[in-house]
């Protein structure tokens, strides 16, 4: 007995750990959303490329597109063009699309569309970058100005990070004569970046230009940022403000000094970005992401089933929860029900009929069936013929109710047909046996208990969040099994027994 108890305990612990572990893995590692209502921002980025093609000349358009190796996941990417060949290649951590055509004429428009989201960041690849560079050769006053700038920057900084932000701050000081000289009257971001690069190069600190797009609805052009590798990771700086760290909503479009677009065989190219934001149900998003990434964690979940089958399983997978309700009601509370699983089956029928209407129909049919059964009792029929008569009567009754409610314009009444007839017949039969054996009072109690249990089970089984949760994390069922196993050895009192044995406490 003790060995058995230990065995059971180990089994329960095993099942619960497995269930919780698998679910935790799904939630925390795979990042599957916990509720169906969880939505994610979805960004739709359109880059529109317009240019005038030169006649009788092959056209080649090259444009950088996001490398997408950071926290963003592309859900869909498309290159829309007419009569152009498209190829994508990766160069130095950048991705570049090339549209090419033998012949094009007049105004041409190409589109690049990217749908992305911030979810499911995969593993971060280990960053690598240069930590030393040669100085850019300077001459004359520029050299002096740069060196004059450098010494206070050195004094005010402790490491690469502070050095760079200090340099950016100095370059953005319009009153500094040295800066004025180096900028040469051009205060554009491009030019500032150039000056910053010069200053950094004297200190042998490498620097890269990073072109970013902000995920917001406003029309924009790529914003220039700077980045430098400090030996461990990339540090991002805003050349205008010295602000450190790339904001969450900034997407790196490309890195390096080259322009966004290069065009051969055409003129006046123009790129405009349009961004729009939409929200998407998290699990659909997860499915989309799944299709676009290698990690196919949803493939072996229930979402891998065909859609129609999924719907069936969404009903089936919550049945254990209904059973759990019955278990708790019977063994912990002590409510008496007809059979063990009849209430669950009735609860399933309630799904179709709706709760209130279902209870009315169930009560009506059972009551009529019971009165028929008690009438048949007088005829002294054998069991099988009697059951057959009751079943036939139930069918007729259901048909009549459907007909009447249809005539009365109550479409709901038609759903009565979904009440499993066999369940109804067996309910009537068992209820009447209970009636005879233990009296009408008891039969009534059992009947009401059954309806309460069925309603409760139905209520729980139709909570969409719960259905979603169990369907998405079926390992939860293992935890349920663990609980059920534990209940199998429960020896405590049932709630109703506390009242039943009250007589003991009276004197």
């Amino acid at each position: 007995m003790r060995a058995l108890t230990l065995h059971l305990k180990i089994l329960i612990v095993l099942l619960v750990t497995l269930g919780v572990g698998l679910t935790a893995y799904q939630i925390f590692v795979l990042g599957i959303p916990v509720t169906a209502d969880e939505t994610d921002d979805l960004w739709n980025i359109d880059a529109k490329i317009e240019f005038v093609a030169s006649p009788r000349e092959p056209v080649k358009v090259q444009m950088f597109v996001p490398p997408l190796n950071q926290e963003f996941v592309s859900l869909n990417e498309s290159f829309i063009s007419n009569n152009y060949g498209v190829s994508i290649n990766r160069v130095d951590g950048n991705r570049r699309v090339t549209w090419s055509a033998r012949r094009a004429e007049g105004r041409e428009t190409l589109y690049y569309r990217l749908v992305l989201t911030k979810r499911y960041s995969g593993e971060q690849t280990k960053a690598e970058g240069p930590i030393f560079r040669d100085s850019i050769p300077l001459e004359g006053p520029e050299k002096i100005a740069a060196e004059a700038l450098l010494s206070p920057i050195r004094q005010h900084s402790a490491d690469v990070e502070t050095f760079i932000s200090e340099a950016i701050k100095r370059v953005n000081n319009p009153n500094d004569d040295n800066v004025k000289l180096l900028l040469g009257g051009d205060a554009s971001t491009e030019n500032k970046a150039r000056v910053i690069e010069i200053i950094l190069s004297i200190a042998h600190v490498p620097m890269q230009r990073v072109h970013t797009i902000q995920l917001s609805d406003e029309a924009q052009t790529p914003e220039l940022w700077l980045r430098s590798f400090n030996g461990e990771r990339w540090l991002y700086f805003n050349p205008e403000t010295g602000e450190q760290g790339l904001p969450e909503d900034r997407l790196v479009w490309w890195i390096g000094d080259e322009p966004l677009l290069t065009l051969e065989g055409g003129k006046s190219p123009e790129v405009t970005f349009t961004l729009s934001n939409s929200e998407m149900n998290a699990i659909r998003l997860a499915k989309l992401t799944d299709e676009n990434t290698e990690a196919s964690f949803l493939e072996y979940s229930l979402y891998g089933l065909p859609l129609s089958t999924q719907q069936t399983y969404q009903i089936m997978i919550v049945i254990p929860i209904g059973v759990l309700v019955i278990l708790v009601l019977r063994n912990l509370i002590g409510i008496q029900t007809l059979g063990t699983f009849t209430p669950v089956l009735i609860a399933l029928a309630f799904r179709e009929t709706q709760l209130g209407f279902g209870i009315i129909l169930f009560t009506l049919i059972t009551a009529l069936g019971l009165s028929l059964r008690s009438y048949l009792e007088h005829l002294k029929l054998q069991m099988l013929p009697r059951l057959s008569v009751v079943l036939t009567f139930v069918v007729v009754l259901i048909a009549v109710i459907s007909l009447f409610s249809h005539k009365l314009g109550l479409e709901r009444g038609l759903s009565v047909a979904l009440f499993p007839m066999v369940i109804l017949t067996m309910t009537i039969e068992r209820l009447s046996i209970t009636w005879e054996e233990r009296g009408g009072n008891h039969a009534f109690k059992v009947g009401v208990g059954t309806i309460i249990a069925a309603s409760l089970a139905h209520a729980l089984m139709s909570i969409p969040e719960l259905v979603y949760f169990v369907f998405t994390f079926p390992a939860v069922l293992l935890v349920l099994v663990g609980f059920m196993l534990a209940m199998g050895r429960y020896r405590g009192y049932r709630l109703t027994e506390l009242f039943r044995f009250k007589a003991f406490l009276k004197d």
Binding site: M1, N331, G334, K380, Q382, M383, L384, E436, E437, R438, G439, H442, G488, R489, Y490, R491, G492, Y493, R494, L495, E497, L498, R500, F501, K502, A503, F504, L505, K506, D507
Partner: protein, 327 residues
């Protein structure tokens, strides 16, 4: 909520057994499922009892098929009174008690006159499983009609009072006298409204009773006190009950017995899932007593001794007798 926890603790302190504990610790542990037919089928119980030399109401005959119904005449020709029972009936359903004959017809205990055809119809109903659990085909049993000892006249209403003793591994644990009432229609089932009266295991003197989960001291129909009645032949009952363990092999049973005015204590049937109201009737929890028996069993097992029914009765009477008198 707090009150419920208090109730829980109080009940637990008094060793009151709940359904969950009864099922998990006793029924599931001591009663092998394969042995259930012995207690579920009254005919098998009776045959086993006769083999073991245990007193049961004499069996006049068995009817198994519709053809055999015509044998009824032969079976009952020597008897003026008899009982027809379904072998696997539950809750006293389908039992027909014939008290006498009346001009070629039969008279039931309640005085109703019925014809031979009606008896045959009743037999046919029994055979098709009208009264058996689950509606399976059943057999009909025709047996001796028990005449209750006159001692019960004052505290019983119609019907036959019976005595239930709960027996754990052959050790009587608790006893109760079940008295039919007007509400129970002469049946001795507590949930149908019969009274349960506790019985002191050592002396066979009745204690107070329970009726519909309440404590009572008087019979609601006769208004006579139910406590302080000495049951005759009490040791006989105890020995019968203790011997039932060897008879059926089930470790936790309720033994239902009657006291016939001519034949003394007889076993009526055995129950593999005896109810818990016996605790209210005795004002004592079952768990305390079963734990003592289990301790004794472990002790004996260590020594390798197996006690005889007489020894077991003696043990139980010494330990559980003399239930403290009520204040």
């Amino acid at each position: 909520m707090f009150g419920l926890i208090k109730t829980w603790k109080a009940l637990s302190a008094r060793g009151i057994m709940g359904i969950n504990r009864r099922n998990a610790d006793y029924v599931l542990k001591y009663n092998k499922r394969s042995l259930y037919p012995i207690v579920d089928d009254k005919i098998i119980t009776k045959e086993r009892a006769i083999e073991a030399g245990i007193h049961v109401p004499e069996m006049y005959g068995i009817i198994e098929t519709e053809q055999e119904i015509s044998k009824l005449h032969d079976i009952i020709k020597d008897h003026n009174d008899f009982v027809i029972k379904p072998a696997q009936g539950a809750g006293g359903d389908g039992i027909l008690v014939i008290a006498d004959r009346f001009e070629g017809r039969y008279k039931t205990v309640s005085g109703r006159i019925i014809s031979h055809d009606e008896i045959e119809h009743q037999l046919s109903n029994i055979l098709t499983g009208l009264y058996s659990l689950g509606g399976l085909r059943d057999r009909a049993l025709i047996e001796y009609r028990v005449t209750p000892d006159p001692i019960f006249k004052s505290i019983s209403y119609e019907g036959v009072p019976d005595i239930r003793i709960i027996v754990l591994m052959g050790y009587p644990v608790m006893a109760m006298l079940r008295l039919p009432t007007r509400q129970s229609n002469g049946k001795a089932n507590l949930h149908q409204g019969a009274i349960g009266v506790g019985v002191d295991l050592a002396t066979g003197i009745t204690l107070r009773g329970t009726w519909l989960n309440n404590k009572i001291t008087k019979h609601p129909d006769t208004t006579n006190a139910v406590d302080g009645v000495q049951l005759p032949n009490w040791d006989g009952f105890m020995k019968l009950a203790a011997g039932c363990y060897e008879l059926c092999g089930l470790g936790y049973i309720g033994v239902d017995m009657v006291l016939d005015q001519d034949k003394g204590p007889l076993i009526l049937e055995l129950n593999a899932r005896p109810g818990l109201n016996i605790q209210i009737a005795n004002d004592t929890g079952l768990t305390l007593r079963t734990h003592q028996v289990e301790a004794r069993l472990a002790e004996l097992k260590a020594k390798g001794i197996q006690e005889t029914p007489e020894e077991r009765v003696k043990f139980s009477q010494e330990l559980f007798g003399h239930v403290p008198a009520h204040d």
